[in-house]
């Protein structure tokens, strides 16, 4: 569905992504894991068109995305849940959700009910200002907002960031649920353990290059992944 080929991104003189190639097959959950500064967020941002890559190609359902503007990319059916949630704090939950569907012209009623059924907590808080909610609730709202655009592919940048372990579990079970309903998921995580348990496919990113790839289970069993991300010592 999404193919990335030899993608390179520079920030000034610094090369943040040094030629990565990977693929997100339809209806799968694919995760990119890696430490800070590995280039995970940069990769996502260049898929969404927020950063212009210096070379390489990104194709979505056969269409080249490099060079397109963000609104056009989003309207192709890609949604981005930005890192650190970025909900609109002084707007109500419902307003936030409606903004997510801004590119659509049809009736929203069914979809609002759909996201409320995924996140019953948000229905209770429909009229609350989203800035006053807890981190976990804001993350749920950010995901709900992204789903309102009816994406074929939803990209999430560290949904577990700064959340309590129990809430992280909730978020990941919702990610699985969303995937079951037919949405392809590209997940970026530092929480390698949770991410690899959830994902069908995983890629390990280190300082701008992909060093390892495989199914979630394979990577979980890999010694170097265990050592670097799961805190298990090599014996």
């Amino acid at each position: 569905m999404l193919k990335i080929n030899d993608l390179r991104v520079n920030y000034g003189g610094i090369e943040a992504v040094k030629g990565i190639t990977f693929e997100v097959p339809e209806k799968n959950i694919v995760t990119l894991i890696g430490a800070n500064g590995a280039g995970k967020s940069t990769t996502l941002r260049s898929i969404a068109g927020l950063v212009k890559p210096s070379s390489g190609s990104i194709t979505f359902e056969g269409q080249e995305l490099v060079g397109m503007d963000t609104p056009d990319i989003i309207s192709k059916g890609i949604a981005l849940v930005p890192e650190g949630r970025h909900v609109f704090p002084d707007m109500t939950v419902l307003e936030n959700i409606k903004i997510g569907a801004y590119l659509r012209k049809d009736s929203l009623e069914d979809d609002i009910n759909w996201v409320y059924s995924l996140f019953p907590r948000l229905r209770e808080r429909s009229w609350q200002l989203s800035g006053t909610m807890s981190g976990g609730e804001q993350q749920m709202l950010a995901v709900a907002r992204a789903l309102m655009s009816h994406p074929k592919l939803i990209m999430m940048d560290e949904p577990s960031l700064g959340l309590a372990p129990l809430i992280v579990k909730d978020i990941f079970s919702i990610i699985k649920e969303i995937n079951k309903q037919g949405v392809t998921v590209l997940l970026i995580e530092q929480n390698a353990n949770m991410a690899l348990h959830t994902a069908d496919m995983g890629y390990v990113l280190e300082t701008g290059t992909i060093t390892l790839s495989g199914t979630g289970k394979e990577l979980l069993a890999d010694e170097s992944v265990k050592a670097a991300y799961l805190g298990k010592k090599n014996k």
């Binding site: 969404a48 927020l50 503007d69 963000t70 609104p71 990319i73 989003i74 309207s75 981005l80 849940v81 930005p82 970025h86 909900v87 609109f88 704090p89 002084d90 707007m91 307003e95 409606k98 903004i99 997510g100 801004y102 590119l103 950010a142 907002r145 992204a146 655009s149």
Partner: protein, 369 residues
């Protein structure tokens, strides 16, 4: 339970209707006795016009998060266009007595409502052109760029090359005023109503999203530049109309009227009323404009027991006014209304809350309606 809720909305609707009726009655009374109350009327009219400009500035600053200081420039454009298009042809010779009038505009005259719309459209058109480079700037830089623009407009209007159109430094006079009070206040109310409708539409939601978080707004697929441009154009449209209304109110204008001080007055109103609150801006416009006048007694010499109190002389009211402003900003740091809007329910809570403030000493009352 649903019934009581319905009853309440009906009750509030009746209140609003009552308030509207009272306003109309007061206007009618003032209209009938206009010669007797001309001073009060002029304060109210100026307040209403400032309210239009303040709400349009709030649309940009409070709702879209673009801090622009170009209001005086757009008002100048609007005011001059209305003036040039409405001064009666037979009086033009006496207005342009020094430099003569350019033949291009000598016989150009149209009704005031058309002139106001043209004024708004020209201001919006200039905003559209200016927005292309300027809206790529952020926060303070945008403010500096628009401030510079406003000064350029003023300089251009006063330029000797345009003497035969703008009458240069002599300014324009004999501008026809409002036919009656209802027209003046009706036009102001209509402008504000249109902006309220815009803010409550889905466009308003997009504007707020840009204010709150540009990154997230972009990730939602919003075309940031397009909506910033749109907010800037709409705001300038109503600022231009506000300038035109000011010209009709003042009857004579010159380029000095539209100095940077005018922008600061509007900014003061917006900040005092609450950034992001329309009712706040309207309230602020009336408080600031009327407040300056009420405080006039500070300018008169005051004698207590035959001794003149030295502080009371002309200019002292501005000192008092400034101190009052500081007090308001200290205690209501987000403006009088914050970013809330007026509602009857909110007013009810406020009135009920007043006794609590005196009984519960420790509890800090929230300063929102």
């Amino acid at each position: 339970m649903k019934n009581t809720k319905n009853n309440r909305t009906i009750k509030y609707k009746l209140y609003s209707l009552g308030a509207l009726l009272v306003t109309l009655l007061i206007l009618g009374f003032l209209q009938v006795n206009s010669s007797q109350y001309s001073y009060q009327i002029s304060i109210l009219e100026r307040s209403a016009i400032y309210a239009v400009v303040a709400v349009s500035m709030n649309l940009l600053t409070g709702f879209t998060g673009l801090f622009s200081l170009g209001q005086a420039g757009f008002m100048a454009i609007g005011a001059y266009i209305v003036a040039i298009l409405t001064i009666p042809v037979e009086q033009r010779a006496s207005v342009y007595y020094v430099n003569g009038i350019s033949p291009a505009i000598a016989n150009l005259q149209c009704p005031f409502w058309l002139a106001l719309i043209i004024a708004g459209l020209v201001a919006a058109g200039i905003a559209a052109l200016m927005g292309i480079p300027v809206l790529r700037l952020k926060s303070d830089y945008l403010a500096i760029a628009t401030l510079g623009f406003s000064e350029i407009i003023r300089a251009v209007i006063a330029a000797p090359q345009l003497d035969r159109i703008t009458n240069g430094s002599y300014g324009l006079k004999s501008i026809p005023g409002f036919p009656n009070l209802f027209v003046a206040f009706g036009l102001c109310a209509l402008c504000i109503l249109l902006m309220v409708l815009l803010i409550n539409s889905s466009y308003g939601r997009v504007f707020k999203a840009i204010r709150e978080d540009e990154i997230a707004a972009q990730a939602m697929g919003l075309n940031l530049f397009r909506y910033k441009q749109m907010a800037f154009i709409i705001s300038s449209f109503f600022t231009g109309i506000g300038g035109g209304l000011l010209a009709m109110f003042m009857r004579s204008i010159d380029s000095k009227t539209f100095s940077i001080n005018l922008t600061y007055d509007i900014l003061l109103i917006v900040v005092l009323g609450g950034i992001g609150s329309i009712t706040g801006s309207v309230l602020g416009a009336f408080l600031v404009t009327a407040g300056r006048e009420w405080l006039r007694f500070f300018d008169n010499p005051l004698y207590i027991g035959g001794i003149q109190i030295p502080l009371f002389r002309s200019g002292f009211r501005m000192v008092v006014f400034s101190i009052l402003l500081m007090v308001v900003v200290l205690f209501y740091s987000r403006g009088i209304m914050g970013n809330n809007e007026f509602s009857w329910a909110g007013l009810g809570r406020l009135v009920k809350g007043i006794p609590d403030r005196f009984t519960k000493k420790k509890q800090k009352g929230d300063n929102t309606l």
